[in-house]
Symmetry: C2
Subunit: 107 residues, 2 copies
């Protein structure tokens, strides 16, 4: 059912994209957004973060640089001393789902 859901979301997004590209929609407001019902970003356990990194076969230092963060931060994420939140958490999920290519082929 995750595939089903994402398929629906994709269709809706494409539709919305077409609409505002046509100038029909001005801006995506909270109303339309609520209907998109974007899934809340789940927390990542320390072990999960470590797994994400090891799956990509990079050291903590390299991982940190790729995420534009510090070695110290990555270390504390993986030990559970600090918890990634906000944009950091989102970025980790993106890497988990799409791999490091997304973060490497930037600019």
């Amino acid at each position: 059912m995750p595939t089903k859901k994402s398929a629906i979301l994709k269709a809706m997004h494409e539709t919305a994209t077409g609409l505002h590209r046509a100038g029909v929609m001005d801006q995506v407001t909270l109303k339309e957004f609520d209907r998109l019902c974007l899934p809340p970003v789940k927390d990542l356990a320390p072990a999960a973060i470590k797994r994400i990194r090891q799956k990509e076969r990079v050291s903590q230092a390299v991982f940190a640089s790729l995420l534009n963060t510090s070695l110290s931060t990555v270390q504390k994420w993986e030990v559970g001393q600090k918890k990634p939140t906000g944009a950091a958490l989102k970025l980790l999920h993106i890497v988990q789902d799409r791999g490091l290519d997304v973060v490497m082929h930037t600019s």
Copy 2:
């Protein structure tokens, strides 16, 4: 020349991918990474952040939710009261280069 550079990086990355997929390379260490010479993530001016959001035609609230951050934070980014750093800054650059699709079609 940015295209040239990214082409080289892409080729190197694909080569490296093939190598460690074959089990030849254990892990991407700092040595190999330094040769990749990943470009340092540049700061984003408040106006630049606002432009990124407006290009995607979303409100501050929607933009915040998509980046898994708070409305308050996005507002202060755009006014220059707070500066995005680390993973947040990286994520903003990704959105700038690839659009909001990357952040929407996750999970």
